[in-house]
């Protein structure tokens, strides 16, 4: 069964992250690289991507003429999607375990980011007889 693990954060959180020291940032990327390698070796990683900065985000609505109206101003409280992992695992528990690993990524001062990871099962196209 496939799950998507969504990593989200606020603008404030991202701004704090940008003040991390070089070694803290390196430790974080090393952690992510190692985890992705592990997930591939476990035969579980389907896809992983990070998204561009929230500053680049646009919300698009169709106007009355059907043409795009874009909005680039976001409240401080808004949670932004920062990146996602799609994993193919044997059980929901395993998906939660991977999410916990992601949330336990290293933060400055030997701490953990404890970022919330939203876990959602991806619906299949498979059907059973109705």
């Amino acid at each position: 069964m496939k799950y998507i693990l969504l990593m989200t954060g606020t603008k404030a959180g991202i701004e704090t992250y940008r003040t991390w020291s070089k070694s803290d940032v390196e430790a974080h990327f090393a952690f992510l690289g190692k985890l992705n390698k592990e997930l591939t070796e476990a035969g579980e990683l389907v896809a992983n991507d990070g998204l561009s900065s929230p500053e680049e985000a646009k919300v698009v609505r169709a106007g009355n003429d059907g043409l795009p109206i874009t909005d680039g101003v976001f409240p401080e409280s808004k949670e932004f999607l920062l990146g996602y992992w799609i994993v193919d695992v044997d059980s929901p528990e395993r998906a939660y375990e991977i999410a916990a690993r992601l949330s336990a990524g290293p933060a400055p001062g030997a701490g953990r980011t404890s970022m919330p990871i939203e876990v959602r099962q991806i619906m299949s196209k498979r059907t059973s007889e109705l």
Binding site: T40, L45, V46, D90, Q121, L130
Partner: protein
Amino acid sequence: MKENVPLNDRLEHLLRELAPQVLTVVARRFRDFAAAEDAVQEALIAAAMQWPHEGVPENPRGWLIRVAIRRMLDALRSETARRDREDEVGAEAELFTQPELSLEPEMDDTLNLFFMCCHPVLSAPSSIALTLRALGGLTTAEIAHAFLVPEPTMAQRISRAKATIKHSGVRLERPTAKERAERLRAVLHVLYLIFNEGYAASSGAEMQRLELSREGIRLAHAVCALLPDDPEVTGLLALMLLTDARRRARSGPDSELIPLDKQDRSLWDQQEIAEGTALLRAAISRGAVGLYQLQAAIAALHDEARTAAETDWPQILALYGLMLKLTENPMVALNHAVATAMVHGAAKGLELLKPLDADSRMAKNHRLNAVCGHLLEMSGDLEGATAQYRLAASRTMSAPEQRYLLTQAARLGERVADTTGTG
């Protein structure tokens, strides 16, 4: 000799027929299944690239065995580079002077390969991937494509499955008489899962999953040929054919699901129905009835009805009753409740759903809500039915089913609005 002839279906069929035979020979020789499996993959790929240009060799199986053995020796050589090379040269000479006859696979070996790939030490997804590669002769890329995962991920899944087999000491040998029935059940279950994996609404990116249904049927045919007298093996093949026969009618032009009673029965594949029915008859005549035969018998009754109204529900109900004697699977109880409703009315069916409601195995299972919705609709409780369809829609993990269930809820919601509006 023709140049650039694409690998045609016949050639692919030949390679895939030979794959497990070659594997058993090489694995038996070297007593190393994992390495042999890799070597055979390489040999198959080499054949797929060379044969279209150079023509199929006179003895294709011998060719594949030779190439695979050469790959095995290459791998051994690079692994043990510091070891005395003369031993290996000797080993190679010996392998190549073996008379052709000893390279013939034994029927039993292919069956043992099924037992190994579907061994209970492996998780279902691992067994499925390994079976498709070792017995189906599919490449890692093809399997990855079918399961919509990247190739390196699938490659790792397969090599981990092989490592698990190695570490748990599972050998390419006949299971003991005591284990045999259970191990065969595991094999049939894996084939059933492969078939079901392909049982999707056919559209776009998921089209390739239909291939998995065909693959399940092909592998069931193979096991059937190895065990022609086993009624459950035949029963499983019959079930697959009798279910697959309805494939074209199961989804509409927009890949929306069409339930059995609304399907255009002229689209059902009569040839598959005839084949499945004949197999089922042969299986049942052997006397040992089992769950696959019973499911096939139910599928056959649906297939034989010219219209939904002509469906022989009393007979189907009796068959579900027999299944309940063989299994405690709550899904069977659920289908039994549907059949009961069709024969004795919705109220009787709804009564049977009550104990399932309390069954922890059915907790939050959308099928229970979907059936409940269906039976409530039959009984005229449209509001109750709408609520159950909505609940089912929120619980299913299948996108086409969710769409179907939401459509049912919406359809009933409109009827409820009409009734209250005019009344």
